[in-house]
């Protein structure tokens, strides 16, 4: 029978479409993985930067000691003498993931080292993330958009910057968890299945395990629910999507030690509870509406509203009183700086001192999401015409993430998936229109119905079961508006073929437009590959510079850490600015005073004070902390700009924030930070200056600092309380040892004291550790 034949062919086409999209997805995964391997190929398979070293160390501990010891791990190698409870203060998702991976691989006799597993966790998870993007976008706008969005996400530079091989950081798995949680939410919203709702709570749990950014989810989803309720889109599916997530998700989140009771006690989570109440009220209203007659309902509404208002105000008043009684109004510092971008710079220098907590500049948008920035508006419009629950979520996601990315560079990462989804939708819609009109022109009118059949199968392919009724007309106009975004397309002559329901563009225009869109895509790909290869692959512990006589490698950090680890006692304490804390514990295995966790501001301020104090006072502080070695990073010889002298003002600020005798103006000459002969005596006598420039003048005879591009102010001086024990090949790391007290000659210290004058004596009295 003919009918059977056609259905057969439809099934085949269906199967072919499935296989094709599966292959495409597989290739996208491979691409997502391999584009992140530039760092391994260009440099080596090594852990990058700072935080990844901590995560790596935690993973090593986990694989060595097991998960129970991990939860109870009290780390005495950092924050000496306080120590740090790692199990309770770390987001364990990443380490548990990599640890599990490692265990599985080893149990099937694939003996990869922990390091290798850690290095490649991020690329693997970015492949997962692009698949999750496919699923999410498919739920929103169909398979075509899904594939495009997945391909875009696989190589979006913003995400690459956090997930190149070796960048073993929370964000690497968290972005996957974020997208997957959103996918499951939308899936639940579209199907109303309790199964997906449960999965959603579990995915949310994984996200909570992985990253502090989970608060974004627990605020965004309630916002969306609220939006749906307000716009009259309440349905039982919405209830199923939301209520289990709040209940199960909060219970699960409270299981993570680092979150614990915060899941119900901090303001970040209050929105979800409020919406939880609201959705129940709304559900009740809808239920009552169903069983009451309209007149009765009206009476009931007035009654309930008047009583409800009173109750609500009472509850709100109690809540506000509770929240207001806590000093930070129940918000953590980082969250507050999200809501009020100027908060950090005003109150918490330690948050403001991190470059990734600064607001981004315009070029960084172009750098990180490139052409997506231009495609996003088109995508938003495409989402609005037919506006469904899912697409309204996408719109809300992009809007909020754009705001957050504007506050902190780091949150560009949250924007990236949203931008990819939007651009995926935009591109896919554009292609849809163009190829359809090309096909129409090429195939001609007689074949048209078959083409319709093709369309039919294409649409049945995507399982969007949401009722997008009555949207056909709108959808067409959406395509029309779509075209407005495409450059250079003159108003298409729609009327010419009235009999067609398809929106047809002239052949030449569509071919041209397809060509331009492909060109745009190619530009994006080129930029992404460039970003992956050049901009984001440097591991930052090993630097390279290309000069006329070939590649020059600066491996000074590891040189210093290797020296520390092999040539000092295991229990020696090393003091440095907190940036290098994680690396020192991980690579040199030595106890540090402060590290990148920055949980204790006073402690960091103490180190900052010591480094900005004169030698003797600094020696006293360090000695009271049992410090044996002091490590400073100095870039003046080779021109490495992010060295300690350039970070020094933050040390002064943070130190001065706790110990008021350190005053920032003392280090500035007329408001200018300088280290040349115009610098203030306080600056020229502080420990950081001395440790950085000790004997520096002897290298070239005049002490020319290549970073600051100036000759240093104080050239010849001696160290009385510290001795140089190691300096790396390019002088980038210098390690000093505290001289033991008995080696000091009384007379000498006295002389130096009288020389340096009154300012020194007065600061010494105020030494916090005496």
């Amino acid at each position: 029978m003919a009918a059977q034949e056609t259905s057969q062919s439809a099934i085949f086409r269906h199967a072919f479409g499935n296989v094709l999209s599966f292959t495409v997805l597989l290739l996208i995964g491979v691409m997502a993985f391999s584009i992140r391997l530039f760092s391994v190929i260009k440099y080596e398979s090594v852990i990058h930067e700072f935080d990844p070293y901590f995560n790596y160390r935690v993973t090593q501990f986990l694989t060595k000691s097991g998960v129970y010891d991990f939860w109870n791990w009290f780390d005495d190698r950092t924050w000496y003498p306080l120590g740090r409870v790692i199990g309770g203060t770390v987001y364990p998702g990443l380490t548990l993931t990599a640890g599990t991976l490692w265990r599985i691989l080893n149990s099937i006799n694939i003996p990869l080292s922990v390091e290798t597993v850690c290095v490649f966790t991020a690329p693997v998870f970015s492949a997962f993330a692009s698949w999750a993007t496919y699923l999410l976008t498919k739920e929103i706008k169909g398979a075509g958009a899904g594939l495009t969005a997945a391909a875009l996400l696989a190589m979006v530079p913003s995400y690459i910057s956090r997930s190149v091989a070796g960048s073993y950081d929370n964000e690497a798995v968290a972005i996957f968890a974020l997208i997957f949680t959103f996918y499951l939410y939308i899936k639940t919203l579209n199907t109303g299945s309790l199964f997906y709702a449960t999965l959603n709570a579990i995915a949310y749990f994984y996200m909570v395990c992985s990253w502090g950014g989970y608060t974004f989810i627990i605020n965004l989803i309630p916002m969306h629910v609220l939006l749906c309720i307000v716009t009259g889109r309440y349905s039982p599916r919405l209830y199923i999507a939301y209520a289990p997530l709040v209940v199960l998700g909060t219970l699960l989140a409270a299981l993570v030690p680092v979150v614990g009771f915060n899941a119900v006690m901090t303001s970040e989570h209050f929105a979800s509870f409020l919406v939880f109440i609201i959705i129940h009220v709304v559900a009740l209203v809808y239920y009552i509406k169903g069983i009451l007659t309209p007149q009765m309902f009206k009476v009931a509404v007035t009654l309930v509203v008047s009583v409800g208002m009173v109750l609500c105000f009472a509850v709100l008043a109690v809540l506000i009183a509770l929240v207001a009684s806590s000093p930070t109004k129940g918000w953590s510092g980082r969250s507050l700086s999200l809501l009020d971008p100027t908060y950090a710079s005003k109150y918490i220098p330690i948050i403001a001192s991190v470059s990734e907590h600064q607001p981004p500049t315009w070029p960084s948008y172009f750098m990180d999401i490139n052409v997506l920035a231009f495609l996003v508006p088109a995508g938003i419009i495409a989402c609005f015409l037919p506006l469904s629950d899912a697409s309204s979520f996408a719109v809300l996601y992009i809007v909020t993430s754009v705001y957050f990315s504007g506050v902190m560079v780091r949150l560009m990462l949250v924007l990236a998936p949203a931008a990819c989804i939007m651009s995926g939708i935009a591109l896919s819609e554009a292609f849809d229109v163009f190829t359809r009109s090309i096909k129409f022109h090429l195939v001609g009118t007689t074949q048209n119905p078959q083409e319709n059949a093709g369309d039919a199968t294409k649409v049945t392919q995507n399982d969007v079961k949401s009722e997008k009724s009555e949207d056909t007309v709108k959808e067409r106009s959406s395509r029309k508006s779509k075209k407005k975004d495409k450059e250079n397309i003159e108003k298409p002559s729609l009327v010419s073929r009235v009999e067609k329901r398809l929106l047809v563009l002239p052949l030449e225009t569509s071919v041209m437009a397809v060509f331009l869109v492909v060109l745009l895509g190619a530009f994006y790909v080129v930029h992404c590959v460039w970003a992956a290869a050049e901009a984001y692959s440097a591991p930052s512990i090993v630097l390279t510079s290309r000069s006329h006589d070939g590649l020059h490698v600066f491996d000074d950090f590891r040189e210093a850490y290797a020296w520390l680890s092999h040539n000092t006692e295991v229990d020696d304490k090393v003091a440095s600015w907190w940036d290098y804390g994680y690396q020192t514990t991980a690579m040199a295995n030595r106890t540090v005073i402060v590290d990148n966790n920055t949980w204790n501001n006073t402690h960091i301020a103490t180190v900052g004070t010591a480094l900005s104090s004169p030698e003797k006072a600094a020696w006293d502080i360090f000695n009271s902390l049992d410090v044996k070695y002091v490590l400073v990073v100095f870039g003046g010889l080779v021109g490495y700009p992010s060295d300690d002298i350039n970070k020094f003002l933050w040390m002064v600020r943070i130190g001065g924030g706790v110990f008021p005798h350190i005053k920032e103006p003392d280090y500035l000459r007329d408001g200018q930070y300088r280290i040349d002969s115009q610098a203030t005596p306080t600056m020229l006598n502080c420990l950081m200056y001395k440790l950085s420039y000790y004997r520096f003048v002897e290298t070239d005879g005049r002490g020319y600092d290549k970073v600051r591009n100036t000759e240093i102010g104080k050239k010849h001086f001696k160290l009385n309380h510290f001795e140089e024990v190691f300096t790396t090949h390019h002088w980038m790391v210098r390690i000093y040892k505290l001289k033991s007290p008995r080696n000091r000659i009384r007379g000498k210290t006295k002389r130096s004291k009288s020389k340096s004058g009154t300012s020194k004596r007065s600061t010494r009295k105020k030494n916090p550790w005496q």
Binding site: N109, R558, T699, F726
Partner: protein, 614 residues
């Protein structure tokens, strides 16, 4: 100084030995020439002895005693018989040397008995060449130096050869690395020239005569000592021998005290840091590939490879210049082509590879060589040129089930003289080579089978649950709707054909062809209507299709209407052609119908799209 202490004990035992000297006095050493090479941290004694048998009985063993302080640092001892002199000098194979404990001798001496290949008869003589290599014989003095100081070491031995036999003529040459001597013991006949100190010749020295000499000299060569070296040699029959060497290195010379100034070191490395270890050269076999040099925190970028057909030189620098007392740890690894090292003999395969480390001037305190054979190897035996402690273990690696047999060879105090080949014999069938790929193939095959099975199987727990039934019904409805859509599309195709026939008519005026087209179209349409009937009735009966049915019904009605109008138009046009009316006339007549047709067609299309969406 502990050195002094041992001196005293040596002198003390000296008295004893004179008592026992007659025990071994059958032999007499007629000429003895001793050279001590102190140019590196490894001290090499080369002694040539001309042994004469003055006793009555033939002698098959020669005793070589060493004081305890030296014997415990003895790394390598080889004795050969040399014949001829100068250019014609030939030496035999190494003789068998064994530790022996002659009676009546105090335990402060360690005795080695050399078994001669043929006995020395009465009055006969032969020349032995004894090569002894010691480690840790040089003591840095002072023990701690600053960066600017030169490294001074002290060496102590006796000016006379320690021997149970009387020595007629003997001399001693001490070779120093540099012609800089802090002090040396002056005895009679002592000569210092260049970088050599000569003692002797001394004549007619009785056994166990031990005048102590101490040489205190400058030795700026770094004392690189590997406290532990683990070499792992892994054989893959796919064509590779992978060697991984883990070094744990320490500079055992005089320790650095005070500051280390990079400035001084960089400005004058030969003065400020003369004894620092800045680079090592590993001599790897030819055709070594995939060479890497790293430590636990990553790659070390300061290395170079030079290769030619005979060897591959790997020059490595530690991360930092190593001063006295400093330590470091690193790993080098390289791959070697299998055919250069693996051979076959008598049905067995054997690996023939060097034992020691590829770097000269390194003393290895504890060397562990692990040979990892492929999984499934059996009948394993090791042949080595010197005694080695041998143990077995297994290693689980990629895709292993039982594990690979590992031969662990351990030796302490290893010097470059130990760089000799050793052999590991084993049996391994070539079929085992295919086991792992087959395992993978089979694994993936099973995986795909499982996937196929999963896709085709129905895992619903309760087949009677309403949601399951609803799902099944929904599937049926969907296929029905799809079929219905197909039919509709084909109907529309036929409509188009009719339109086309009309256009043809207006162009050619062939009424007959147009009529024929009409007839076939009618037949087709009838058939299609018949086909769609069961589908429609199914859709109407199915509860799942409740929301679609009205649309479908509407579509059917609209389509019928459209069909009627189209037929009407068709017959009108054909009629007018038959009546030969003018083109404009026809247009006028048809216009009203045409308008309706366009409208209906639009509606039908819209409806189709709506159904599509569902």
């Amino acid at each position: 100084m502990k050195r002094l202490h041992s001196d005293l004990s040596l002198l003390f035992v000296l008295g004893f030995f004179t008592l026992f000297s007659n025990v071994c006095s059958d032999l007499v050493i007629s000429k003895l020439d001793r050279q001590i090479d102190l140019s590196s941290q490894i001290v090499r004694f080369t002694t040539s002895l001309k042994v004469e048998n003055n006793g009555a009985e033939a002698v098959s063993k020669v005793l070589l005693p060493y004081p305890e302080s030296q014997a415990k640092n003895l790394a390598f001892l080889s004795v050969t018989i040399t014949e001829g002199k100068g250019k014609t000098k030939t030496s035999s194979d190494r003789l068998y040397v064994d530790v022996s404990h002659p009676e009546g001798m105090p335990p402060s001496l360690t005795w080695y008995a050399v078994s001669l290949p043929k006995e020395v008869s009465k009055g006969g003589s032969l020349t032995l060449e004894v090569k002894a290599v010691f480690t840790h014989l040089l003591t840095p003095f002072p023990e701690k130096i600053t960066q600017a100081d030169a490294q001074l070491v002290a060496f102590q031995d006796s000016a006379h050869y320690l021997s149970p036999y009387a020595v007629k003529i003997q001399s001693l040459t001490v070779k120093l690395p540099e012609p800089k001597v802090e002090s040396y013991t002056r005895l009679e006949n002592t000569k210092f020239s260049g970088s050599e100190i000569k003692y002797g010749p001394y004549e007619n020295i009785p056994p166990f005569s031990l005048p102590t000499i101490v040489v205190h000299f400058v030795s700026n060569k770094p004392f690189s000592v590997a406290q532990e070296l683990v070499r792992e040699i892994e054989i893959s029959h796919w064509g590779n021998v992978q060697v991984t060497e883990n070094y744990n290195l320490v500079h055992a010379g005089a320790e650095l005290k005070g500051e280390f100034s990079r400035l001084d070191y960089q400005a004058r490395p030969h003065v400020r840091g003369a004894s620092a270890l800045s680079s090592l050269v590993a001599r790897l076999p030819a055709r070594a590939h995939s060479i890497y040099y790293r430590d636990e925190i990553g790659n070390i970028s300061t290395s170079n490879v030079y290769s030619d057909s005979a060897k591959t030189l790997l020059e490595i620098e530690p991360r930092y210049p190593m001063f006295g007392g400093w330590r470091t740890a690193f790993t080098i690894g390289y791959g070697l082509p299998l055919q250069d090292f693996l051979f076959k003999s008598e049905g067995k395969r054997f690996l023939d590879i060097t034992f020691g480390c590829p770097m000269n001037d390194i003393v290895i305190e504890n060397l562990i060589v692990k040979v990892v054979l492929p999984e499934g190897s059996n009948d394993i035996s090791v042949v080595a040129p010197f005694s080695i402690k041998e143990t077995r273990e297994t290693k689980l690696s990629h895709l292993d089930i039982a594990g690979r047999p590992v031969i662990v060879l351990e030796k302490t105090n290893v010097v470059p003289e130990h760089n000799q080949n050793f052999q590991v014999y084993y049996r391994f069938s070539s079929f085992s080579l295919l086991r792992e790929p087959l395992m993978l193939v089979f694994g993936f095959f099973l995986f795909f089978i499982a996937c196929i099975a999963y896709v085709h199987a129905d895992f619903t727990i309760s087949k009677s649950s309403p949601s399951y039934i609803a799902k099944l019904q929904w599937d049926e409805v969907q296929t029905a709707i799809q079929q219905f859509q197909n039919i509709m599309n084909r109907v529309l195709v036929i409509h188009n054909k009719l339109e086309a026939s009309l256009r043809d008519l207006s162009r050619t005026g062939d009424v007959q062809a147009c009529k024929a087209a009409r007839k076939t179209a009618d037949a087709f349409l009838k058939e299609l209507t018949k086909e769609s009937k069961p589908l429609l009735s199914f859709l109407q009966s199915s509860p799942q299709a409740l929301q679609i049915t009205p649309k479908v019904d509407e579509l059917v009605i609209k389509e019928r209407e459209l069909q009627e109008k189209l037929m009407l138009k068709h017959s009108m046009v054909v009629d007018s052609y038959e009546k030969k009316s003018g083109g404009r006339d026809i247009d006028n007549r048809v216009a009203a119908v045409q308008q309706k047709i366009t409208l209906l067609r639009q509606e039908v299309d819209d409806l189709l799209e709506v159904i599509d969406e569902i």
